[in-house]
Amino acid sequence: MESAHNINVDMSVRIGALELRNPVMTGSGTFAAGREYAEFMDLGRLGAVVTKGVSLNPWAGNASPRIAETASGMLNSIGLQNPGVESFCANDLAWLAEQDVPVIVNVSGHSLAEYVAVTERLDAEDAIDALELNISCPNVDEGGMAFGTSCAAAADVTRAVRAATGKTLIVKLSPNVTDIAEIARSVEAEGADAVSLINTLLGMAIDTDTWRPKLARTVGGLSGPAIKPVAVRMVWQVASAVSVPVVGMGGIMNAEDAVEFMLAGATAVAVGTGNFVDPATTMHVVDGLERYCRERGIDRVSALTGALKR
């Protein structure tokens, strides 16, 4: 006799043209290109690896201190330090291509032309399954979040990048806006296959001994469990406003957190800061999600998406 506890749960989800074996990805910038984590977990059991942001030329990043711990989270102002797209393809991507996991590369830029140039370069790489357009980094002076905080700018960069690639295009949205659903609709209208949210919330912390900011850059992006309620709310708003899939993230530490995001409307989820706390957090989320479904007799994880009761 079949009981609810031994059903097989279909964990697969779909983002654009991309079929994922499960909905659990990594948050860009918390996982490098995966190699550092391979000693602690099986990359092949992830839905996808989302790499750190890649720009056309190498970026040095910001001055130190680059992080500050805050209640139930952290601030960072790394500043998209990366070796540039050529080095990324030759080293990180070459390694990642040998792993049995879909690859999503986060695309960064200072200008519209740079976003397009990086996209064109990455579009030529067969090992890349999808691109995530980063218009939401709060830690760079030019570009980054500036493209993600007005509908017109977000639409312009999405349109230009859309024209430069046939790969699945995910646009990563900033929470530092008045109406995130409006931005989501703008990028959907320009051909985004999916949206991911939230990037970090702009924040600040001050050392009361020195009266100086704790970050060299003064302000930085807040992440971790502290931001989860804001993120869940925004995923719910965006999922209600667009018809493309939503990748939800912001403070996911365990499977129950991931379930919340899916019930709010996320098709897939990403673990970011949680990777720092335990390098195997993603594996615990994958296993926990499957167990959650099995114990409740849910035979496919995608049934959770948007199943919020009101």
Binding site: E36, G61, P65, S72, I78, Q81, A216, F276
Partner: protein, 274 residues
């Protein structure tokens, strides 16, 4: 066996550990001993572990601690009580469990042909030097330790130095032990008298910077262990970068021990309390 070591990255582990002892050493300093068989047998001098002190959500990040000594299955960690994490660490009692990631980082190197080494420790800079002194001594290297602290009571790690070093020189800010003044005042004399083949330094960055210059002036290679705020500890997040003549390097994997001549000193990188 050759004692020269040029550091090869070992396998990194996530290990469940048990507190064996956790005692106050002096004002604001504790020594915690952890039963951690796999890490303790793999760790080399100058490496560190990334300790998950709390599984709650009040504070979530791990804390990096250098290994003072490794004794069979046990790790000895000297720590300064500075902030939220180390205050919680000081509350840990015998039998409590935590998890560590380790051994991590690039530790001290012993150059081929080293016959005499000078170890310079300021305050808690003694923490990563216990294992080093033991290894050097076991390899027949003559060890001189120059150690400084605010007061006599805060000269920590003296047990292992007395047991392994040929000479232990001390300086205190208040003159309560050894020379009255900074440890840097002992270094030039030790460089001239002992003619060491290598200098190892760890302590406040202002002090490490002076010792680096003193070693360079005497034409002696110098290695420095640096502290940075870290998130992941395994090389992914780029929080702990150190500016070097070779560009930005990560303290967690390229360090914490660096060739001091390559460090571009910048006081703004000194971490605040954590």
């Amino acid at each position: 066996m050759s004692c020269a070591s040029t550091h090869e990255d070992g396998h990194r582990l996530l290990e469940r550990v048990t507190v064996v002892a956790n005692d106050r050493v002096t004002e604001g300093v504790g020594l915690i001993v952890l039963e951690s068989p796999r890490v303790a047998r793999a760790v080399r001098p100058g490496q560190f572990v990334h300790l998950r002190i709390s599984t709650g959500t009040d504070f979530i990040l791990r804390r990096p601690f250098s290994i003072h000594r490794a004794e069979e299955d046990r790790l000895h960690i000297l720590y300064q009580v500075l902030g939220t994490g180390t205050r919680a660490l000081a509350e840990k009692r015998r039998g409590e469990e935590m998890d560590v990631i380790g051994p991590l980082g690039h530790g001290w190197e012993i150059p081929e042909g080293t016959a005499h080494a000078l170890l310079v420790a300021g305050g808690l800079g003694a923490a990563p030097m216990g294992m080093l002194a033991e290894q050097l001594s076991a390899c027949g290297v003559a060890v001189t330790v120059a150690q400084g602290a605010p007061t006599a009571e805060r000269l920590v790690g003296q047990g292992v130095f007395e047991a392994t070093a040929r000479r232990v020189l001390t300086a205190t800010d208040d003159g309560s032990a050894g020379e009255h003044g900074f440890v840097t005042g002992l270094v030039e004399g030790a460089l001239a008298t002992d003619r060491p083949d290598v200098v190892y330094v760890c302590g406040p960055e202002a002090m490490a910077r002076i010792v680096t210059a003193q070693a360079a002036a005497a034409d002696v290679p110098c290695q420095v262990s640096l502290e940075r705020l870290m998130a992941c500890g395994i090389g992914a997040c780029l929080s702990c970068v150190v500016t070097t003549t070779d560009g930005q390097r990560r303290a967690c994997v390229d360090g914490p021990v660096f060739d001091a001549a390559h460090v571009v000193w910048d006081v703004s990188e000194i971490p605040p309390k954590h």
